[in-house]
């Protein structure tokens, strides 16, 4: 393949490099000047770090860390639920009857076309005012805290925040499910028709056709976009802070407001998300490679 790549090799490196370097230094210098002289911000990293990592009065986990844990739990359970829903809706969209296809398609279209924020506000109001009482979940979550066992605390966090966690998980997984469903649908649609026909003509039962013939091939195709969706899910989890789910962003804004160390705290929060997402993407890439290694490489 001859692409545009080769001719861009003729840029004169020294000149562009030089211009960019000068620009970079100038921008950094100007920013420093503005922050030190213009807005006279007094950076105080030692103070910020000790505020963020200070244990509570009774030696509880530092508030900031509880936020990180909550984001991790939110992402984990969100991903699990979103994957289940996403596969069901995606398969429904691809292979369901007319009505089912239409409903799945509508779900995908609507969730992908309204702002996540708006969905979260609608849905939060809906679940807190109707779904929770309807399912009797509020009774379940209002049990005395002592009943929660160690592993329950580890997996789901402090019992006082379970309802909070469930709202967040439902919100982000419903959104993410729409995107995953679309990935699944596209993956299934990309499998050549002949594969289905071969399975059918050999008399392989329908579920086995999915399990042995179609899904393994689809999985190899959808693994990369799926990885992207999981990282998006971690990032999107930040917006549930706006419905008071006590995760990293929520905790960050509490600390920033109470300590007044706006610059430091927000940069720190951004840094933590950056590390989370980057390590997740590296991890998932490994998993993806290991997973698809079992399938022979096909074009």
């Amino acid at each position: 393949m001859s692409t545009v790549n080769q001719w861009t090799g003729r840029f004169r490196p020294t000149r562009l490099d030089g211009i960019l370097l000068v620009g970079l230094v100038a921008a950094a210098g100007w920013m420093w000047y503005r922050s030190a002289v213009g807005v006279a911000y007094r950076w105080d990293w030692p103070q910020a770090l000790s505020t963020v990592f200070a244990a509570g009065d009774a030696g509880e986990t530092p508030f900031f860390l509880t936020g990180i844990y909550a984001t991790l739990r939110l992402s984990l359970w969100g991903a699990v639920l979103a994957s289940i829903l996403g596969v069901l809706i995606g398969v429904g969209r691809y292979a369901g009857g007319r009505t089912l296809r239409m409903f799945c398609g509508t779900y995908i279209q609507i969730l992908r076309n309204i702002p996540p924020l708006v969905f979260i506000f609608i849905f939060y109001f809906f679940i807190s005012s109707q779904l929770m009482p309807l399912l009797g979940l509020d009774a379940l979550f209002n049990r005395p805290a002592e009943e929660a066992s160690g592993w329950q605390r580890f997996l789901f966090g402090p019992p006082a925040l379970w309802e909070n966690l469930v709202s967040g998980v439902l919100c982000i997984s419903f959104i993410s499910a729409a995107y995953i469903a679309e990935v699944v649908r596209a993956g299934l649609a990309a499998i050549p028709r002949g594969q289905w026909e071969a399975g059918e003509s050999l008399g392989i039962p329908v579920l086995d056709r999915y399990r042995f013939v179609i899904f393994p091939q689809a999985l190899a195709r959808i693994a990369p976009p799926l990885t992207g969706q999981y990282i998006s899910l971690v990032k999107d989890s930040s917006i549930v802070s706006l419905i008071s789910v006590q995760e990293l962003t929520f905790v960050g804004s509490e600390i920033a407001n109470s300590s007044g160390l706006l610059f430091e705290v927000w940069l720190l929060v951004a840094f933590v998300y950056f590390l989370l997402c980057l390590s997740l993407s590296i991890l998932l890439r490994q998993v993806e490679r290991r997973m698809t290694r079992h399938f022979h490489q096909f074009a």
Binding site: T8, F11, N113, S237, G252, W266, A270, Y273
Partner: protein
């Protein structure tokens, strides 16, 4: 007339737009009936005033429509900036300059691995004050910086898809590099990229709702304020969602039609 409904793009519009709208309508109706059972009193008639008000026979935009205009304004402005950032980033990534590639790479990783909301907070609380930006500037810069990272991938794919022969033809005709870009490469790239770029516009409209957290009076903020005043939670959120849906689906439809024209040409 019957033939019209057989055309692929018409069918696509129908299935992408009309069908979801119809089903959504049914769902909303079901929710309404459900809500009536728990004594939620629907007051849809009050929503009209939030869309348009009429005083002495003169129509004026209500809060929601005003909000929509702000949303559109922010989206359009950040779309322009997005295109610039996306193109520059793509060119830097394809360039032979080490600093350029590193810069582009760092920017992309930074944007891709942090939430938009956090980017907005950092811009608003940290960069904004340092650079002396107001809310609107911050919002537009933030949305464009975010979307630009994704758009640059489209530009990069588009640039890489230009056959070498086109470039060589331009060069052999003695076109200067800039002219070659401007008259030969970019028009081809742009035509191929129109449909995916429309999707970026859809994303921008959608993502723009997040600027409501820094007190910009866009559609989402107007909705939230109205709810705080009137407690018509469902009516207003559903209306707001419907407006967003109408805008994004209209854009998607436009993309589908553009693609069809391209395919037809």
């Amino acid at each position: 007339m019957i033939g019209l409904f057989r055309r692929p793009w018409v069918r696509r519009v129908l299935s992408n737009w009309i069908q979801p709208a119809a089903i959504a309508g049914i769902l909303v109706f079901a929710v309404m009936r459900g809500a009536e059972n728990i004594n939620y009193r629907w007051q849809w008639y009050r929503v009209d005033d939030f869309l348009f008000t009429s005083e002495n026979g003169a129509w004026a935009a209500g809060p929601l429509v005003q909000g929509l205009f702000v949303t559109l304004e922010i989206s359009v402005l950040s779309l322009f900036l997005t295109l610039v950032i996306g193109l520059v980033t793509a060119l830097l990534r394809l360039s032979s300059s080490m600093v350029g590639r590193g810069l582009a790479r760092g920017y992309l990783e930074l944007i891709r691995n942090t939430p938009l909301l956090i980017q907005l907070y950092v811009m608003y609380f940290v960069l904004g004050p340092i650079l002396g930006w107001g809310q609107t500037t911050t919002a537009i810069a933030c949305l464009a910086a975010f979307q630009g990272a994704y758009t640059s991938e489209i530009f990069r794919a588009g640039l890489r898809a230009i056959p070498r022969g086109q470039v060589e033809a331009g060069e052999s005709l003695g076109l200067k590099r800039l002219d070659n870009y401007r008259y030969v490469i970019l028009p081809q790239v742009l035509r191929n990229m129109l449909p995916p770029l429309t999707n970026e516009a859809v994303s921008l409209v959608k993502n723009s709702s997040i600027v409501s957290v820094i007190a910009i009076f866009d559609l989402t903020t107007q909705g939230r304020n109205l709810i705080a005043d009137t407690f018509l939670t469902f009516e207003i959120w559903l209306t707001v969602a419907a407006i967003y849906l109408a805008v994004t689906l209209a854009l998607s439809t436009a993309a589908a039609m553009a693609e069809r024209r391209r395919a037809g040409a």
